[in-house]
Symmetry: C2
Subunit: 119 residues, 2 copies
DNA sequence: TCGATGCATCGACAGACGTCAATCAAAGGG
DNA sequence: CCCTTTGATTGACGTCTGTCGATGCATCGA
């Protein structure tokens, strides 16, 4: 395809996402991929959850560590976490009774690059 | 803690977005600022519009240049453009009959930085 | 002055979203 | 084995969002 002036899409990347944004005009599919990820970031609660996890000891946190800080019910927090995992921003690992969540740096890198207008 | 892995925001940007976030977890207000901007990016049509403008001749475009590429009605395109302007991602300038839209690089820089986990 | 053009606004509507209480499922501990 | 703990799922709710057609408001050309 002719589109590839910037915000390149790594076909071989570990994470499936994103070919933006100032290069050729983004086609519908690429725009959809990007928008899906950004939509997950478009809620203040989810931004706080990500911030909490990223700054937590060991870079991980379980639901029980997150419910109180954000001041929402446990089902709501679980709901947001699922969205973040589905968006590829977090990974989930079950250890015993607890579910530990960790950020996916590669995804953040890709999104960060997607917003860079200059090469 | 020692390594500052967080979702930071540059407080010194020329664009009004996002208060300085003192050291650790993002507070509610800061998270809200960030989320507002990302929410504007959370729609495929808006991502395409931004891409179209960023790659356009002279870095600007009017509604009439955007309606056909995205395949939506003029009112809908105007609606999206207003959201993008309100989010600080675009500026609008009326010249004669036409309204020209341009991207705001500083805002993209800020958001890009906010997604960087490593300092 | 009149008609055409470019956009914004309005009103409406279907679908998506954020939230909660209630419930369910699995893992540990006694 | 129960009973507690942790977290996911379900069902319901009010609100927000994306889209359109119709309309209003400037600006320009004739």
């Amino acid at each position: 395809m002719a589109t590839r002036t910037e915000l390149p899409l790594r076909p071989s990347g570990p994470v499936v996402c994103c070919a933006p944004m100032a290069g050729g005009v983004l086609e519908a599919e690429d725009a959809g991929q990007l928008a899906r990820a950004f939509k997950a970031l478009g809620d203040p609660t989810r931004v706080r959850l990500l911030s909490l996890i990223a700054t937590a000891e060991g870079g991980e946190a379980c639901i029980c560590n997150l419910t109180e800080p954000v001041g929402l019910s446990q089902p709501t927090v679980s709901h947001h976490m699922k969205l973040l995992v589905d968006a590829g921003l977090l990974t989930r690992e079950q250890r015993g009774k607890w579910a530990y969540y960790t950020v996916v740096p590669a995804m953040f890198d890709q999104l960060s690059d997607a917003l860079r207008l200059t090469r």
